[in-house]
């Protein structure tokens, strides 16, 4: 390969770098639209469920009395409730976070199964006094009052 025409080298380099960056940007934009995992409230999931198998997150309150450990000792079933009496059953295999209890807020990462049960790979609960998953924090502004009526345990 021969050297580029000297006059244009800087220009060519700039153009190449720009092309690569724009390509990266476009690719990122395309991938983000498909791969970002959307956050659902229980009522949103009930009214407009995501495609079966698509990675999403579900945030709401753990319904008191719904928590049940299955016979293998590591799988739990519970329900997450939201506004308008919405209720989504969730199944999770693993070690639950320390602050995961009935009546508290939770964000479940996972996918909706064909049977309408949300299968969680991971649960995020309130970490400590200072750290609240952002989704729950947002919820406290909009929904704490309504949540409190339904569950009698509000979020801070």
């Amino acid at each position: 390969m021969s050297a580029l025409k000297p006059k244009h080298q800087r220009l060519v380099l700039v153009v190449l770098a720009l092309i690569a960056l724009v390509a990266a940007g476009l690719l990122a934009g395309y991938a983000l639209r498909n791969q970002a995992s959307y956050f659902y409230l229980p009522e949103q999931m009930r009214d407009d469920p995501p495609a079966v198998g698509q990675a999403v997150r579900l945030g709401g309150m753990v319904e008191p009395g719904s928590l049940m450990t299955l016979s293998d000792g590591v799988t739990i079933d519970f329900a997450v409730t939201g506004r308008e009496n919405s209720r989504i059953p969730v199944r999770f295999s693993g070690i639950v976070p320390d602050l995961f209890v009935e009546g508290s807020g939770v964000v479940a990462e996972g996918r909706l199964g064909p049977d309408g049960i949300f299968v969680a790979d991971n649960l995020l609960a309130k970490h400590d006094e200072n750290y609240v998953p952002r989704e729950l924090e947002g919820m406290s502004e909009h929904q704490a009052a309504e949540m409190a009526e339904e569950t009698t345990v509000g979020l801070e």
């Binding site: 390969m1 021969s2 050297a3 580029l4 000297p6 080298q9 800087r10 380099l13 190449l16 770098a17 690569a20 960056l21 390509a23 990266a24 940007g25 690719l27 990122a28 934009g29 991938a31 983000l32 791969q35 970002a36 995992s37 959307y38 956050f39 990675a55 997150r57 450990t69 293998d72 000792g73 590591v74 295999s93 693993g94 070690i95 639950v96 320390d98 602050l99 990462e109 970490h127 400590d128 006094e129 200072n130 750290y131 998953p133 952002r134 989704e135 947002g138």
Partner: protein, 651 residues
Amino acid sequence: MIAELGLAALWLAAALAFLQMVAGALALRTGPDGEIAQISRPSAVVQGTLALVSFLALLYVFAVTDLSVELVAANSHSMKPWIYKVSGAWGNHEGSMLLWVTVMALSGALIALVEKRLPERTMQATLAAQGFVALGFYAFLLLSSNPFARLEPAAAEGLGLNPLLQDIGLALHPPTLYLGYVGLSVAFSFAVGALITREVTPDFARVMRPWVLVAWVFLTLGITAGSYWAYYELGWGGWWFWDPVENASLMPWLAATALLHSVSVLASRDALRVWTIMLGVVAFSMSMVGTFLVRSGILTSVHAFAVDPERGTFILFLLAIYIGGALLLFALRASTIAEGKRFAVASREGALVVNNVMLSAILAIVLLGTLYPLLTEAFDVRVSVGPPYFNPVSAIFAIPMFAIMAVGPLLRWRRDRWGRIGKEVVLIGALLIAGLTAIGLLADIAFLPLLGLAFALTLGIASFLPLRGRRLLKTPLATWGMVIAHFGIAVALFGMASESAFSTERLAALQAGQDTTVGPWRVRLAAVEPQAGPNWTALAGRMVVRYEGDAPVEIAPMARSFWAPAQQTTESELVTRWNGQLYAVLGGEAQDGRWQIRLWWKPFVTFIWYGGGLIALGGVLSLIGRVVGDIKRRRVRRRVDERREDAEAFA
């Protein structure tokens, strides 16, 4: 008293930063011989000393747990182990920002003391820029996050430090990363200084290079240590979560890696002038963006301990001033910087340009993925972006980069022919194809890990090719540094690919005395017993674990309850062998008296961090090589000068 002393030192340091900025800027007009130019270097030195005094004062109030200081009361506790009392000084927002400005002021003092190679005008401009950047951070500390604020009346007891942070990791990880971030601020100041005086020369690159190297080494170590810390402390079994804060440390690293390579081109070949300056600005911008993301609490992250909109706004404001200002200056001046030397496509420079472009593309991808949730939130849509986005999309650019990394170092500077290194290219290609087919046939694994393993194998061998035909003892240290750092990338890549391809997991509920298996391990839960530590109580799951045919080992992962602040953590336990790690976590008690345990067998996972260590080692070797070379050159020059003076005296 000590707290007031610290605060006073901090105010004085801020005043000196202002003086340094003004003096440096005025010296640009009066010329480097004017009286005003004599001020900037001493004020940089005194500023560094004062910042250090202030930081030592903070360490002191934490060490003695002075509960009349608000920050101590909010973050410490008299019963905490001593080491965590001291490291707790930077385990909070105010303290970590003070650490940041201290390191920054000290490095400013260091350049002012030792750097004599640059034209004095550029030096003055650099010091002025450094003072300007420091001033913003002083303002931030003093106006919105005073670490020495008093509490009236003093608290009876402190609130304690988040137990997740009560770990040796905290003593090491943030200071290391900060040294990296701040090293980039020095590179930024040099870039701005050179832009102002338009002196973008190989000499400038040689002055900037050690700072970039230091920053890069510390960033590498900080990321490696942080990754390992998250791996064993969080108990989730993962080593990288694409958490916004992890990304915030990765982005400056990517920019610094690109800068490191382009500054080398500038230093040895006088090409890529404008690009190097641009990267200098971008690298520090990424540190600032990182600080903004971490400190403003705008994104969900376990690191976000200062959720305070005022602070977020302040950092955003600083970010806008520095980055906006630097980019404006860049836009105005870039076209007036003379073009550097040219080169052919098939040359070392050409390969380094490809490396730079690929790194920048990965940087763009990580940045977009990190900011995307913020963007959609503006439209009231909440998303999170995780591995399904980051892994494949960054791999699209990482793979060609690895390919270029294998052959680039074999090319000559300026102009080369592919034909000259034909044999090596064929060897590398053959290795890659052989690796892909062999691993693909032998193991049933996903595509990305397969690519990763094949490239790790190829790179591992290719990274040593540049040493071929050289006398090893005569090879410059800097070359060894490059070889080892590239080999480190291969090692880390091997670890990552193995972990994702071959990890096995077992989740089980066991009664005391029962067995389970994970991979080649047999694990028996012996008993679950209570334990007590200095500021916690715990349940420890005593387990006897045995690797195929080896002697059994006893481990005891715990679920700890801290009382100040009241919080629970899981303390995982690891058994390390040469070929991987067993990772054990104790969960809760199921109703029927069984205990949940979670086990992973992660083959070769440790190679990720060995690789990180090797990469940093390569950086250190290269740094030593450069600095020693520089000192030798100075000595020779001095001797030549002396001889000439002697000769003149004789005449």
